[in-house]
């Protein structure tokens, strides 16, 4: 359960969300990617009050959010290609428009030759990379990732963080939930949100890098 949370994410900021298991990281991420509504309190996203927004208005906001789930949440009967293409197709892109970007993205995460493979035939690390490719294919305004490097080796983790950083430099606000201190320390300019018992604890004490100035609400 989350309580007494009051924070703002700067547009274009890079945040790490950390804390012990059960601290509420996943719950907070669910609020961020609009999978849950808060029982109390308010949520503003992209400058809009979304706490009580009608549900039929939520898809347009969700399309601006890329999510990397801890359990990947890939559609089992779709190929890696179709999984990555899903956000583009939902946004209305035709099969021809999807082809190039998806192939490029799969190549970038090192899965060009696994495009037609279905998730059950992929290793955990490969599934995670497909999930990441799906989350970033639409160049989201907000990228939310729950332990995105948990199943990949150090080199791939670094490569993925470079991808996140590149997106961040292009204006995407990135929120990554992780326990990986090495990852946090290797990302200059990132800010830390530490959750404990459902509340933000010591919001500045563990920052290794000073926060950048807030430009506007994300």
């Amino acid at each position: 359960m989350l309580r007494d949370l009051d924070f703002r994410l700067a547009n274009g900021g890079f945040y790490f969300l950390t804390g012990p298991s059960g601290a509420g990281k996943t719950s907070l991420l669910k609020l961020l990617y609009l999978a849950q509504r808060p029982t109390r309190g308010r949520i503003r996203l992209f400058g809009e009050e979304l706490t009580d927004a009608p549900r039929n208005s939520l898809p347009q906001f969700r399309r601006r959010i890329g999510v990397v789930f801890q359990d990947f949440r890939l559609v089992r009967h779709l190929s890696a290609f179709d999984n990555v293409a899903l956000p583009l197709r939902i946004s209305g892109a035709s099969d021809e428009q999807v082809e190039g970007p998806v192939r490029e993205m799969l190549a970038w995460v090192g899965l060009a030759d696994r495009a037609s493979a279905r998730p059950p035939t992929l290793s955990g690390g490969e599934q995670q990379r497909v999930a990441i490719a799906r989350a970033v294919i639409n160049r989201p305004d907000l990228l939310v990732a729950d332990e995105p490097t948990g199943n990949v080796d150090a080199a791939m983790a670094q490569r993925l963080m470079h991808l996140f950083s590149a997106l961040n430099r292009q204006g995407t606000t990135v929120v990554v939930a992780t326990h990986d201190v090495g990852l946090i320390s290797a990302t200059p300019g990132a800010k830390l949100i530490r959750l404990e018992g459902g509340s933000i604890a010591d919001p500045t004490g563990t920052l290794r890098n000073p926060p950048r100035p807030v430009r506007s609400d994300a």
């Binding site: 990617y33 609009l34 999978a35 849950q36 509504r37 549900r55 039929n56 939520l58 898809p59 347009q60 906001f61 969700r62 399309r63 601006r64 959010i65 999510v67 949440r73 890939l74 559609v75 089992r76 009967h77 779709l78 179709d82 293409a85 899903l86 956000p87 197709r89 939902i90 946004s91 035709s94 099969d95 999807v98 799906r134």
Partner: protein, 288 residues
């Protein structure tokens, strides 16, 4: 308006590619078959009742007992104002008719066969006056109205028409219920895919289109299969129906009836599609 029917291969893959059609097609086929047969029977009954009703509305018979003066009765009726199409049924024809029930005994001279005189009466004609004329010509002659004689049969036919309509509506309702169950089953099967799609920003309508299309195709295939089977059965029954038509003058189906029957599978498909769409939208509306 119908763009949802034409999914791209990638859209079709979202719900997986079934090797065999689900139970919806079979259920709709059975319903379509039953509805077609019942509707055809109902239409034939309607035609029969209509023809009978029209034929007997102004038709009367005079029964002249054996030995009565048929010629005088004929003359009396012909001279009455408003009477037309006055015909005496020859005894030989009466006996031929009775043969269907009595066999060769109908030709026996021991069987007294009354003479029959049929006539039509225009609206407003004076039946009391005709009764008087007939009684004068042959005191034992008796006038009967066909409407009274066939009335119970007509009432039964009309009741059967309503029963047929009720059955068609009940079967349509049952088909709708089956589609709702199929839609809910499909939603349960694909719950994970739906959650992922919702999470990525798919609208309820985008998701509904996938299910609506799948169920519409199943319903169309089922409707056509059921209708084809029903058409085969109706074709086999057509010889019997033609005979019944001869007896009653109307137990057959007109071109308009066949057109109506041909539209039933389409109507069932449209009904199933609308029901599926409503059920899926209602179910999706419960999620965030």
């Amino acid at each position: 308006m119908f763009d949802w029917l034409f999914a791209s291969p990638s859209e079709a893959r979202l719900l997986g590619e079934a090797r065999l059609r689900g139970p919806t097609a079979w259920v709709v086929a059975i319903m379509s078959f039953s509805i077609m047969i019942i509707a055809a029977a109902g239409l034939a009954l309607t035609n029969t009742a209509g023809t009978l009703s029209q034929a007997i509305e102004s038709r009367y018979s005079v029964e002249v007992p054996a030995g009565g003066n048929v010629a005088a009765v004929l003359s009396a009726i012909r001279s009455a104002p408003g009477a037309s199409d006055v015909q005496a049924i020859p005894e030989a024809e009466m006996r031929r008719t009775l043969e269907r029930w009595l066999g060769s005994a109908a030709q026996s001279g021991e069987l007294p066969v009354p003479a029959l005189v049929n006539f039509d009466l225009k609206a407003g004609a004076d039946l009391v006056d005709i009764r008087g004329r007939v009684r004068t010509a042959s005191p034992d002659a008796k006038i009967t109205t066909h409407r009274e004689a066939v009335g119970p049969l007509l009432r039964s036919l009309r009741l059967l028409q309503w029963v047929a309509l009720g059955l068609v509506l009940l079967l349509s309702a049952a088909a709708s219920a089956a589609v709702v169950l199929a839609a809910r089953g499909a939603l349960d099967t694909h719950r994970f895919t739906i959650e992922v799609m919702h999470g990525i920003g798919a609208t309820d309508l985008q998701i509904t289109r996938l299910f609506q299309r799948k169920i519409a195709i199943d319903a169309f295939v089922g409707s056509l299969a059921g209708a084809a089977a029903a058409a085969l059965v109706l074709l086999m029954l057509s010889a019997g129906a033609a005979f019944a038509g001869e007896l009653t003058g109307g137990a057959t189906l007109s071109g308009l009836d066949f057109l109506f029957l041909a539209l039933l599978p389409l109507a069932l498909t449209v009904l199933a599609t609308l029901v599926a769409r409503t059920a899926v939208l209602a179910a999706l509306g419960k999620a965030l």
